[in-house]
């Protein structure tokens, strides 16, 4: 099992956004999280990725709890690659510096492999500040950072936002290859066609009242 989520409850601003969510992601599996605006997709992914502390429940990645003790937290995060919806790391960083930082933090290589670089066109982003990139370029740079390693679990929030058709195709192939290599991915998107092409098992979130 690559990722187990048990009875996850996340509250923001006094509202319960995620209420008792359960999930198991096995090796080779891609899971699509779908739902209308405001259904809590991004909040759920933030709790899985260790950015937003849940009110209750557990998230376990590669045998380590994301919200456990210090060592477990570190182990869980080393097995994780995350791209948030906004894809907004500090804007003064160059693409290459973002990859180096993410690689150094996870203890893996600090530059994308030639295959990853070719698929996402990362060479042209290496010396460009993130604040000068378009949304699509920024997302490609963040995808490059998330896929370094590669991680056991990939958590992607609206990953095709801003991508042109060629790069969206490349993204699908990367997610499929990631799963084929025995890893797993959780992808939140409105684009059901993308999830279908990636062979994802979909879970729908209901809109909160």
């Amino acid at each position: 099992m690559i990722c187990t989520i048990e009875r996850l409850v996340v509250r923001r601003g006094g509202r319960t956004i995620v209420d008792g969510f359960d999930l198991e992601a096995t090796a080779g599996e891609t899971i699509g999280i779908v739902g209308k605006n405001g259904s809590g997709k991004s909040t759920l992914l933030m709790a899985i990725a260790g950015v937003l502390a849940p009110h209750d429940g557990r998230v376990v990645i590669d045998g380590a709890s994301v919200w456990g003790g210090a060592r477990e937290r570190l182990r869980a995060r080393k097995a994780l690659g995350y791209v948030p919806e906004a894809a907004d790391p500090p804007g003064f960083l160059l693409g290459g510096e973002l990859w180096a930082m993410c690689g150094a933090s996870r203890g893996v290589e600090q530059a994308p492999s030639p295959t990853l670089s070719d698929a996402l066109g990362l060479d042209e982003l290496r010396d460009v500040p993130l604040e000068r990139m378009s949304l699509g370029q920024r997302r490609r740079a963040c995808l490059g950072a998330a896929l370094l390693g590669p991680p056991r679990l990939l958590v992607l929030d609206e990953p095709d936002n801003g991508l042109d058709a060629k790069r969206a195709d490349a993204l699908v192939e990367l997610v499929k290859a990631h799963a084929a290599a025995g890893h797993a991915a959780i992808v939140a998107t409105h684009d059901r066609a993308l999830l279908e092409r990636a062979g994802a098992r979909n879970i729908a979130l209901a809109t909160k009242a």
Partner: protein
């Protein structure tokens, strides 16, 4: 043609808000700092402007220090006006450009008022020529754009080294102008502190205490300008750190290290300038400002951490820096040189509970 007037004036108003307002904000700390130094230097029992301008024209070293300090102080302001990057899109509009040029020239004059007054009152027509030449130099430097950064052969040794590298890059790329201004203000602060101490004819220990308190006051706007981009980086890198297992305490530790480095570097520069005025203060002028710098850098880190959790981050960060300087003045005023230990203790406690 009938619409040209109103359209032109509205474009000019946008240019003022996009270019002159930020330039004015950058100039404020410079005007405050030079105002304090001016009061000390040209007070009732002090020098006359003519004495200083004559000294600057006769002694190349004094002249160079004076011109370099003003260039460092005013260059960040001039960059905003001369480049006008924030209003670049206005160039695509069919409106005349002369109002922007005229207002830019006026702003370059008004915002250099302390420098202009010094030279006009001190050296008359020759002074006006000096100001014109130095302004030409500043405009030339303001137009120079550095090479775009490149990654090169980058390899960080671990998460903390990476985070430290990110913060250093934030200072280089987001706070470069503030760093330039901070260097200029540090020289001014040291000169003001040294003059205060010398004018009061104090013993070395007391002289260093007074000089350090003055340095803390004059450098406050400089520190705010440098630390604000650091607080923004701390906030913007939070999710990256969270997903990569960099703990909150490690983040605070790196932020504290960078803050202390900024306080120590600027205080050391100010101490050197003060030492030039009161060489008799000797070792006290090393120990007191640097001890205070370490303590304040740690204490202000807590303010920056709190600020990044607030919606009014910029205001909170600036207030944090002002409170830090106020603590320094009170501690030195109440405890004298022993106040260094009080500030160090306060700093350690503050960062430990951040």
């Amino acid at each position: 043609m009938a619409d040209a007037g109103p359209r032109s004036s509205s474009v000019t108003r946008v240019w003022i808000r996009a270019v002159l307002a930020p330039a004015d904000r950058r100039a404020a700390p410079v005007l405050i700092g030079t105002g304090i130094v001016g009061i000390v230097v040209f007070g009732p029992t002090g020098m006359q402007p003519h004495d200083l301008t004559q000294l600057a024209m006769l002694s190349p070293v004094v002249g160079l220090v004076l011109v370099a300090t003003w260039t460092l102080l005013f260059l960040p302001v001039a960059r905003v006006i001369v480049r006008g990057d924030a209003a670049r899109y206005l160039r695509s509009l069919p409106s005349p450009r002369w109002p922007a040029f005229a207002l830019g020239a006026l702003a370059m004059t008004v915002l250099q008022l302390p420098w202009l007054l010094l030279w006009l009152v001190g050296a008359g027509a020759i002074g006006a020529l000096v100001v014109a030449l130095v302004t030409g130099l500043v405009v030339g430097l303001a137009l120079v754009r550095g090479r775009p950064p490149r990654v090169g052969r980058l390899r960080w040794r671990g998460p903390l080294a990476a985070l430290f590298g990110v913060y250093v890059r934030a200072l280089r790329r987001r706070a470069f102008d503030a760093l330039l201004r901070g260097v200029g203000l540090a020289v001014l602060a040291g000169l003001a502190g040294g003059l205060f101490a010398r004018n009061n004819d104090l013993e070395p220990r007391e002289a260093s205490v007074l000089a350090t308190a003055v340095i803390a006051v004059v450098l406050t706007p400089g520190w705010s300008g440098i630390l604000l981009p650091l607080a923004e980086t701390h906030r913007d890198s939070a999710w990256l750190a969270a997903t990569h297992g960099i703990s909150e305490s490690a983040r605070v530790g790196v932020l504290a290290a960078v803050s202390v480095a900024i306080y120590v570097a600027t205080s050391a520069l100010a101490a050197v300038a003060a030492f030039a005025i009161v060489p008799g203060a000797g070792a006290w002028l090393v120990a007191v400002p640097l001890g205070i710098a370490v303590g304040t850098g740690l204490a202000v880190t807590r303010g920056l951490v709190r600020a990044q959790r607030s919606a009014a981050m910029a205001a909170r960060a600036v207030i944090g820096v002002i409170v830090g300087s106020a603590i320094v003045v009170v501690a030195l005023g109440v405890f004298g040189a022993t106040g260094v230990l009080a500030v160090l203790l306060a700093g350690v406690l503050a960062v430990g509970t951040a």
